[in-house]
Amino acid sequence: MAQATRLAVALLAAAWLQLAPPAADAASPPKDRRWTELSAEQQKILAPLQQEWDALEPDQRRKWISMTKRYPKMTPRGQQRVQTRMEKWAKLTPEQRKQARENYRRISKVPPEKRGDLKQQWSEYQALPPQERQKLQSTTKPKSTTKR
């Protein structure tokens, strides 16, 4: 019985340790903060979101704060793209964001040698007659059952 207790206590301690290190890890989700609580550096990166920051969902705010950690590692072009797309992305509904991620995954699965230059392909797609695009859009219904 004493051995069983010691084993149980050891397992509890192990379970606690499993939880404890990530909490102190830099990769753990950041704390939700109001605009005025952000650092000057974070405010500079997230400037396009300043107006709506306090109205965003706490979960979304945490994601953006987390993004500021990645931001310095991005290429200047990547940083510029994030700056220009940030506001639009934040204004999308959760369902739209989910759909965009789903489409990103679908497009990424097409081998690069077969999909060619994506910007070129997007231009060609936009040049299609509206009826044809509408037909394509209606054949690909959004997956409402996807989890993300």
């Binding site: 207790t5 753990s28 964001r97 759909q99 054949t139 690909t140």
Partner: protein
Amino acid sequence: MDHEAQFAHRLRPYLNDGARVDARVAARLRAAREQALAAYRPERHDWVALPAGAGGRLGGLRTLWLRIVLPAVVLCAAFAATFAWQQQQRAAELEELDALLLTSDLPIDAYLDQGFAAWLKRRASQ
């Protein structure tokens, strides 16, 4: 223990023979024996501290605590740890994906268009 009991059994008559004492000594011995019995407490092994107020049938409660409550607590803690870890992983994956999407060559509109991915896939298979 059996050997000890047999020895005690054989020893008893000899002790009884030599234990003929007067009434005063017998009374003092009886009082001392009763006092010793009153002070006697069976030895208990408290391996695990029981929750406060868990009096009563200690044996049954201790078994319940060791065999059911403690393993259940350990199991719950393990589940909670796994769930928290999975949530964290999922959030990290999502962040990674969002970063890729926001820095991609294509504008957000391209990913919001339901037909584009289908059109691209169809073209690639041609």
